[in-house]
Symmetry: C2
DNA sequence: CGACATTTTGAGAAGGGTCAACGAAAGTGG
DNA sequence: CCACTTTCGTTGACCCTTCTCAAAATGTCG
């Protein structure tokens, strides 16, 4: 009975932290039976956009997805990033102007929409786990709104780098034990700007400032290293020298 | 069997559009048995904040709730509004720095957390309906992020008024058949500013501009009327004269 | 009616946007 | 492997929207 899980999922790096990890043997076994791994090149649209692919769902095994809202007049805003172990897809509801795009090349653990939805009906536990994820995503989306609304450019860039470092650190090695090899930025400057509702020139300037002040180091275009985690976190959370506001 | 629904919920103005409306007789009946109506004065914190009340859930029957994120340094951002028929509460997950406050006095249809969660386990359909709501809320939260990130002050104020007019129109009369009595603003200028990530002076100026240009009319501090729905909608969606950007 | 919070209006400052030019990688084809 | 093209990133100068601070006006509620 557990053979499917053992053979196909035992090696999966995100098994324990993803949706599957919250399921009992039987349900996760059933899920593993309808799962198949796919690789997706960077830039590919996963869902949304013009094309109405047949609905399907997935879990990120490796790579980063950006969630972007596009309006008819062309304005875009990235309203979230998804990292390994995150659930991908919008179950139960129709299309919106949200789309998901591969920011990097991806490994996805995929489920056909039909099979997955059938499985949800059979296994309320799956739906339960999904509900929990969606509520967590909801919190994350609102934090993102806060970031867009109430922070300075400096804080925005610091926050984004902090989030990325934390997430990439999770999959590579522990951020606390300062990785000395640095992180690969999954986003271009332009994409960072679209995340933070800034212009890419502004992202550049803030990035440079963090570099000049010794908080981060950068090598090449898309690599950075966190020299002072605490300082980065501080800048992510409190604009300027607002330390006196704390109690 | 249906008596509980008939006696207690038949008169409920939001029955059909709320969570209950998505349930079958049996489940909605069971839900109605654990429901109780409460009135909440404006300003009351529904959940979150310092106090850790026992968890409970609810459905808004009348009134408006604001969802606000508060950071340790005192910065606040309203990240969503909830209107009649919306589900209130964060099932399954622990506390975050999100809190819900009554923007106006409320009528809530309340469920104790324990009873509601027990009911969810017994009736997967309830969990299913809730999942759908949460995914919709997730979309709404991301649209809110877009609003904060990619719009001008003018567009922000217009969007907020448009949303409010649509929602209040729903409960009063149809917005399409221009209400001539106007809408009651559930928010102060300050709260509008907190919604839109603007200063209240900026909200004022944009409000005045919409008034001067004949899009809306205002009488008293907290009443407004939509004179030109289409123009308001246009301003909510496209900043300045960006009409040529459309195709 | 009067005290008070809320709203409105004004003038000046500033953070980030805009435009433009330059530099540095990364891909491409010979 | 090198010249070429193209994309991406960096830097500078200037400008505009929105913020900030201040004061006056208007509703609102006891």
């Amino acid at each position: 009975m557990t053979s499917a899980v053992q053979t196909r999922c035992a090696l999966c790096p995100v098994q324990s932290t993803s949706l599957c990890g919250a399921l009992n043997e039987e349900t996760s076994c059933a899920l593993s039976r309808i799962a198949h791994r796919i690789r997706v090149p960077a830039g590919r649209v996963i869902y949304g956009g013009a094309v109405q692919q047949p609905r399907s769902f997935g879990i990120i095994v490796s790579g980063v997805i950006k969630l972007v809202i596009t309006k008819p007049d062309g304005r875009q805003q990235i309203v979230g990033l998804q990292f390994p172990s995150d659930f991908v897809g919008r179950p139960l509801v129709g299309n919106s102007n949200l789309s998901a795009e591969a920011a990097t090349k991806l490994d996805l653990c995929c489920f056909s929409g039909r099979a997955f939805e059938a499985l949800m009906r059979e296994h309320p536990q799956l739906e339960h786990a999904l509900l929990r994820r969606m509520v967590e995503d909801l919190d994350a989306a609102r934090e993102w709104a806060f970031l867009l609304g109430r922070t300075t450019a400096q804080e925005k860039v610091a926050s984004l780098l902090y989030v990325i470092a934390k997430q990439m650190g999770k999959t590579n090695r522990n951020l606390a034990t300062k990785s000395d090899q640095g992180f690969h930025l999954p986003l271009t400057r332009m994409e960072m700007a679209e995340c933070l509702s800034l212009r890419l020139e502004t992202v550049c300037r803030q990035f440079k400032q963090l570099k000049d002040q010794g908080v981060i180091a950068a090598s090449g275009r898309r690599n950075f290293d966190v020299l002072d985690v605490d300082e980065l976190k501080r800048r992510a959370e409190y604009p300027k020298g607002a330390s006196e506001c704390m109690q």
